[in-house]
């Protein structure tokens, strides 16, 4: 199952439409939690809101997670050890108040298991890969460094 999650704050029609087009003809269940989207998807099942329990169940069951480039989504993908496909919201398209998600994407694409998408073709390529790399649940070099430095500071 491919799980698209956008949170509830702001619509992100560009990503919903790109996913909807990318999964056309794909033989896999697609589920989207898309908030108040102006675009009405044709190729997937969607809801605007989920309870935390429903969300966790979908998240755990998914093969691939698709999300906006928000830190909450990225931490969830990391904790679950899933492949995470992210697209940055852009202020010029009215998708967010500012372009901080572009900065987030620039920093985050170094992390194994995070796959940055700009277009429908990017998404189609990621979805078609049965071995799409997952995030390594719980460890990155940056995290090991931070925890190690804090332990040194705390324990001397």
């Amino acid at each position: 199952m491919i799980f698209l999650t956008l949170g509830t704050q702001l619509p992100f029609d560009r990503l919903v439409e790109a996913v909807d087009n990318a999964v056309d003809g794909l033989d896999e269940e697609i589920f989207g939690q898309i908030g108040k989207s102006g675009y009405k998807p044709k190729n997937m099942q969607v809801t605007d809101y989920m309870t935390p329990r429903e969300f966790n169940d979908r998240f755990a069951a998914a093969r691939v997670i698709v999300a906006h480039a928000g830190i909450g989504s990225i931490l969830s993908g990391f904790n679950a050890g899933k492949p995470l496909v992210i697209m940055a919201r852009r202020a010029e398209l009215g998708e967010h108040r500012n372009d901080h998600q572009l900065a987030t994407v620039a920093q985050m694409q170094r992390i194994p298991g995070i796959h940055v998408a700009e277009t429908t073709e990017d998404l189609r390529r990621y979805f078609a890969d049965p071995d799409l790399l997952a995030m390594s649940a719980g460890e990155t070099p940056e995290r090991t460094r931070l925890i190690g430095n804090l332990r040194k500071e705390i324990f001397g």
């Binding site: 830190i71 931490l75 901080h100 920093q107 940056e142 460094r145 804090l150 500071e153 705390i154």
Partner: protein, 133 residues
């Protein structure tokens, strides 16, 4: 609490404004704090008293916080009472440090951002030691 592995082996008290968080972690003790922000002056005064009581009772060796205002006040009292004080700005703050995070260098021993470019832009009081991702 992505930082929990950093405290393993020590005697930890976890204070949060979100009591629901207590269930998610396996720390020895949990303390619920009132929530407020820096615009709520009266609540902040009450928070000053609340965090003073907590820190005086616990007498911690180390106080570490990711914010926000209640965590900053715990650090303030921790510093006054001789603790090592560490601010770790949330990874969500990729454009600039949080408001509390910008006050933290005034009295904390260690102030960290999880974004390298924010440490570079600062005057040296803010360091980058890695990030949770």
């Amino acid at each position: 609490m992505q930082l929990a592995p950093a405290f393993e082996g020590s005697d930890v008290t976890f204070a949060s404004t979100d009591a629901g968080q207590a269930e998610n972690y396996d720390f020895e003790r949990f303390i619920a704090l009132k929530d407020y922000n820096q615009n709520e002056k009266l609540k902040m005064l009450a928070g000053l008293a609340e965090t003073f009581g907590v820190i005086r009772r616990l007498r911690p060796d180390v106080v570490i916080s990711t914010g926000a205002a209640p965590g900053l006040l715990c650090l303030l009292w921790g510093r006054v009472m001789g603790a090592r004080t560490i601010w770790v700005d949330s990874i969500a703050n990729s454009q600039e440090m949080s408001l509390s995070g910008r006050l933290a260098p005034k009295f904390c021993h260690v102030v960290l951002t999880q974004w390298e470019h924010l440490a570079t832009e600062s005057d040296g009081r803010v360091q980058h030691w890695g990030s949770v991702l």
